[in-house]
Amino acid sequence: MLLHLFALLTAAATAVLIFAGGLVTSTGSGLSVPDWPNSYGWFMFTFPIENWVGGIFYEHSHRLIASTVGFLILVLAFWLWRAEPRRWVRRLGFIALGAVITQGMLGGITVLWYLPDPISIAHASLAQIVFCLTAAIALVTSPGWRRCYVARDGADLSAGSGREAARQPALPGRLAARADVAKADDRTLQRVARVTLAVIYVQIVVGATMRHTDAGLAIPDFPWMFGHLIPDHWDPKIAVHFAHRVGALCVTAMLLATTGHVFAHHRRRLELLRPSILLLVLVTVQITLGALTILSRKEFIINSLHVVTGACVLVTTLVLTLRAHRARFADALVPAGGAAGARLAAGPDHSDAAAGARA
């Protein structure tokens, strides 16, 4: 449980880091500290606080928060390596560590090379991956995940909605278990959630491209585009901006499809219902923030909130997607009848056995 809480803290710190990174870009402070890893020649952690002025405040804070997140992920990876029985989760910790180190290097390189667009875009895009990895670790170390979202008293939380369940004739023992397994392993939901996740990530990369190529106001009006439904003239910046707006529509449509499927078929599965409701709230907030970013001429707080809310949409979708796939993991339980300990998967989980031997 402590490990899960620590992973949650790390994921939350990563979200704060993304917001801080958004502030750096939104205030144009990326080059206010020209050296790296030092700050104006000082060792980063001894840079006097009275010198945190102007753009330095944002850039230096970002570096310090990034260092903290890097340290948290290092501890998390070590903790997982020592305490986590599942090999793939331990690997996830090391992948997160590698990602955050790469992320730090990209941050340094982009400063030393004067913010070249490809590096800055890669830095912004990898940040989302780091957030996804820390959130995924927090999820798979959670008590709910471990008991396959079966209630502690053994009640089945994976059945369909109440009305749907009422329509279903009662099935005898093993058949009922199979039906519930099919319900928990909903391939349609898994597919649509995966596509939604991919579409959101592409949208975030397009957004990062828009930010770092200074195309955020290439189309200056909203909801129209130069007074039209489609821009009446084009250049590369307008095209990137337009792609981001079209992407927003695609993301919204995909999220409606995913959450709609959850509402229609899995209303009683709280582990799917909750992130679905949250996603609808987040995407509404996100579209509002996107509009306000344009209407406020990229006010830096609004702009940065748009960045971090986008990251939250991505991570919430990831949580929903992973939970939808829960039955397909090697350590999944049979979700009916409180048969805790029984395996859904045909094969044994070798990684658990190996970890047991290590312990």
Binding site: L31, Y40, N51, G54, Y114
Partner: protein, 248 residues
Amino acid sequence: MRTLVFTAFVAALTAAACGGSEKPAPAPDAPVSNPVDPATAGAVSGKVTFMGTPPPSETISMSSDPRCMNAGAKTETVMVSGDGSLQNVFVYVKDGLGALKFPVPATPLVLDQKGCQYRPHVFGVQAGQTIEILNSDATLHNIHAWPQANQEFNVGQALQGMKDTHVFTTQEVMVPFRCDVHRWMNSFVGVVAHPFFAVTGADGAFQLKGLPPGTYTLEAWHEKFGTKTASVTIGAKESKDVAFTFSG
């Protein structure tokens, strides 16, 4: 054998790290003497004005750094006097000098950071001339120049009195400077291959002296209003007037 291979590997690495394949530095250019005969040299002078109602200068909020100590400072983007004279316009000979080469001044040009503003806001240097960048403020600045034809640079000056020097080697009009710590701070330098340039003062006037007889294209550049060009022909020891007018 293994030791030999290892030694060769280390030697190769060392050579690469130390720039072992670096070519010898090119010989310095021969000194150039002024090709203009003072007995025939002419001049172009004139004035730059603004027609219309200029946008007002805005008061800069420096609250993000109390050490700037320059309350009430105004933006210098558009500075128009009561009679319409336009300040901070860079005027230079854009074309007409052919292949003439001119000596580069040995005196550096000083770009000062004072009261969290660049002094001067617009200036010119000859390609190859040293720019001395000075921090007169009791706060930190970074000096970030992002030219197109020259080398971009970004240096920090953490302490009052710090100096750095930089040389732009290629003609480029204009090279922007910015301080990313204090986002309101910006400056522009015109880098030209000859000494025939000027920046208008509060009276909007400029003068280009010592020009050889010939026909020239002059260009006037302003940060907000763009560029204007004019053609002028001067004879031996002749002076001509050229006027540029910008409008909003």
